[in-house]
């Protein structure tokens, strides 16, 4: 004690810092308080750094009456004082020696004092003025609340206020279908929509049915960013605002019309720990619901696949079966019936091939035989075959190929010949199918080399773009977004697998495929295009990567 008194008496200024407990100790322990009074009486200037919290804010304000200046530093743990000539630090932890004067380390060695002055100045520069910290605490954080409420009118009011105050995030878990209606009647849904419109992230779990679809539609129409997942019925509802406040109410009357009539006890809190724990409950629920929806989607797609595949398999089977029965009774129509049988057998084979391709694509076992190809020759040959077919069937369609005239007259890519033929044939067949319905239709095939300016591993990426443009009715806008997915077809004879397979083949080759409608003036029709890289090195790399993947999978 004498040391401390001595220390304080010989200085005209003292710099000091203490942890978050120090302010209360200084004010509450008589001996310290007296020292402070002495300091002030002797005109000694005290600069003090501490961790100002909402628990010690009152002590800090009291301390400010004695100190020249107080500053705040988050989580500071040091407890020392330094004057012009001397240094002193507590040598025992205050946890152990709460009420007693601690043992102290004292030194007047010039170098040590100098070092400590430097440490203090560093901390001082990192800290913020007490006034600023006081404002932060008083504006931002209210006293911690954990209230159990049984006044349902008050719960309604708190819920409304919370919905109104939301700025960053709203997490809502509703117990049943009717809760959404009750919240709407209360006005909470409108505030929730406002919050989303003003940038808050809103997630909602609620049992969904026809009963509340009107409100769901209102929400998604006005605030499409709000994510709503279908939930199970639950005995309570929860509303978490900005990660700061939570209200959780038990559902007592599931069928009540008014919110206040539906709830039992409620808990309202702004304590960080309780908000965090409710939030983690919400996140768990959310993830479980997400998983559930994904499973449902996968299940629905699986059923859809089986249904469409079986329809496409049984239809040609029915035709073959019927004509084989009828052949015996109708020898006069033999030719016609055999043609129908072979037409349907071919359709069956095409579907079988397509389904096998899809299986290979989905199991990533589609093997490519990469070789250098001259696309110019390849397309010319396919186009020639199709011209013959058009002539044979007497279709009113003209087919043009306009190869780009390059210096060499050839477009070399590294690709699987059979697969590229498959893609081009598929695009041509589609074009033909939709063009021959119109009078005097045309199909234009083009292949153009293009150098993309995009830097890719330091080298310019070169590619060829092949397009098939027709004068058919064009692509139905309804189907456009899922054109390259499985079973997207508007035609009665397509398997709906062709474009999906094309996309996979082109992407495995490192290219892209896309479709658009022809919007040039009065022209109409569809344009399907794909690109293939011309860069040999890159091409080889991709091939190796792919076969490696395939082999690993086997």
């Amino acid at each position: 004690m004498d040391t401390i008194l001595h220390f304080l008496s010989i200085s005209d200024r003292i710099d000091s810092c203490g942890d978050y407990k120090a302010p209360s100790l200084i004010i509450e322990v008589e001996a310290y308080k007296k020292l402070l009074l002495d300091l002030k009486a002797n005109g000694i200037k005290l600069r003090y750094i501490t961790d100002i919290t909402k628990d010690n804010i009152q002590y800090c304000k009291e301390l400010l009456k004695f100190a020249k200046e107080i500053r705040h530093l988050d989580d500071i743990r040091a407890n020392f004082s330094v004057s012009e000539t001397e240094y002193m630090a507590s040598a025992t932890l205050q946890e152990e020696e709460q009420q007693h004067i601690p043992q102290v380390i004292y030194s007047n060695v010039k170098d040590l004092v100098g070092q400590q002055k430097y440490v203090f100045e560093s901390l001082w520069n990192k800290s913020i003025p007490a006034d600023q910290r006081f404002r932060e605490i008083e504006d931002g954080i209210e006293a911690e609340i954990f209230e159990v409420l049984n006044n349902s009118e008050r719960v309604s009011q708190i819920l409304l206020d919370l919905a109104k105050s939301a700025k960053r995030e709203l997490l809502i878990h509703l117990p049943n279908v009717k809760s959404l209606e009750r919240l709407e009647r209360l006005g909470v849904i409108d505030y929730t929509i406002n919050a989303s419109q003003n940038g808050a992230i809103v997630r909602m779990i609620c049992p969904l049915s026809a009963g509340n679809s009107r409100i769901v539609k209102k929400i998604t129409d006005n605030a499409p960013a709000i994510k709503i997942l279908n939930g199970n019925n639950s005995p309570y509802g929860m509303y978490i605002v900005d990660g700061e406040k939570v209200i959780r109410a038990e559902l007592k009357e599931p069928n009540a019309e008014k919110f206040s009539e539906s709830i039992g006890f409620a808990v309202y809190s702004n304590s960080r720990r309780s908000v965090e724990s409710f939030r983690s409950v919400f996140d768990l629920l959310w993830n479980e619901r997400m998983l559930n929806e994904e499973l449902k989607r996968a299940d629905k797609m699986q059923k859809e696949f089986i249904n469409i595949a079986s329809h496409e398999l049984r239809t040609p089977t029915q035709a073959i079966l019927s004509y084989s029965e009828l052949l015996q009774k109708h020898p006069e129509r033999k030719e016609e019936m055999i043609q129908a049988m072979s037409r349907n057998a071919a359709r069956l084979q095409k579907l079988t091939d397509d389904i096998l391709d899809v299986t290979r694509i989905e199991s990533e076992t589609l093997m490519l035989k990469i070789e250098p190809l001259n696309l110019n020759d390849l397309i010319s040959n396919i186009v020639e075959d199709y011209r013959n077919q058009i002539e044979r069937n007497d279709d009113d369609v003209r087919l043009f190929y306009e190869p780009q005239t390059t210096d060499s007259g050839s477009i070399i890519v590294e690709a699987d010949r059979a697969r590229i033929i498959q893609v081009i044939s598929n695009l041509l067949s589609n074009a033909l199918k939709f063009t021959k319905k119109e009078e005097g239709g045309s199909i234009y095939v083009t292949a153009e080399e293009e150098g993309e300016e995009k830097e890719n591993h330091g080298s310019k990426r070169q590619e060829v773009i092949v397009s098939v443009k027709d004068t058919g009715k064009g692509i139905d806008p309804e189907i456009m977004p899922r054109l390259f997915t499985k079973f997207a077809t508007k035609s009665e004879t397509g398997t709906g697998l062709g474009l999906f397979i094309c996309k996979s083949i082109i992407e495995v080759h490192g290219g892209r495929i896309w479709a658009e409608n022809n919007n040039e003036g009065t022209k109409k029709g569809a344009i399907f295009s794909f690109s293939l890289p011309l860069n040999k090195k890159q091409q080889q790399q991709q091939h190796q990567q792919y076969t490696m993947t395939s082999e690993r999978r086997k």
């Binding site: 249904n307 329809h311 004509y323 029965e325 129908a340 349907n344």
Partner: protein, 136 residues
């Protein structure tokens, strides 16, 4: 060959199948009008003319069920058999709700032999028309 002379309206978008069924049913003594396009069938439809409709379900533009709903506006007495190549459970699920309200009792599965199809249609033609009772 028994001559039923029952008149059947057949609608199936698959031309090969529609023709095969038409030939096969005519061999068994039915009179058959076959259409590939539901809209065309609808515009040629005359109330009281057909005894039975044989309708494919999955067709582009208008499915067989929608087609039958429109048909019933014109002819409440006409009997119906649906035929489909899709998974049965798929239509059984839908059917549970829609079929009873429409008086539909028979859903035939493709592929089917023509003899079996004839048998099914004759049974349906012999049956009491609940349809009638429901709507008169």
């Amino acid at each position: 060959m028994k001559n039923d002379n029952n008149k059947i309206l057949l609608v199936d978008n698959e031309a090969d199948i529609a023709l095969a069924f038409k030939i096969g049913l005519e061999d068994s003594g039915f009179t058959v009008d076959a259409f590939n396009d539901p809209f065309e069938a609808l515009s040629n439809f005359k109330a009281g003319f057909y005894d039975l409709l044989l309708l494919d379900i999955k067709m582009p533009n208008m499915n067989g069920i929608e087609f039958y709903q429109q048909m019933k506006e014109i002819d409440k007495r006409v009997k119906v058999c649906f035929i489909t190549a899709s998974e049965m459970h798929y239509y059984e699920e839908i059917g549970k709700e829609i079929f009873p309200t429409l008086g539909v009792r028979r859903l035939i599965r493709k592929p089917i032999k023509i003899d079996d199809l004839v048998k099914d249609l004759r049974e349906e033609l012999k049956s009491v028309n609940h349809n009638n009772n429901n709507h008169n």
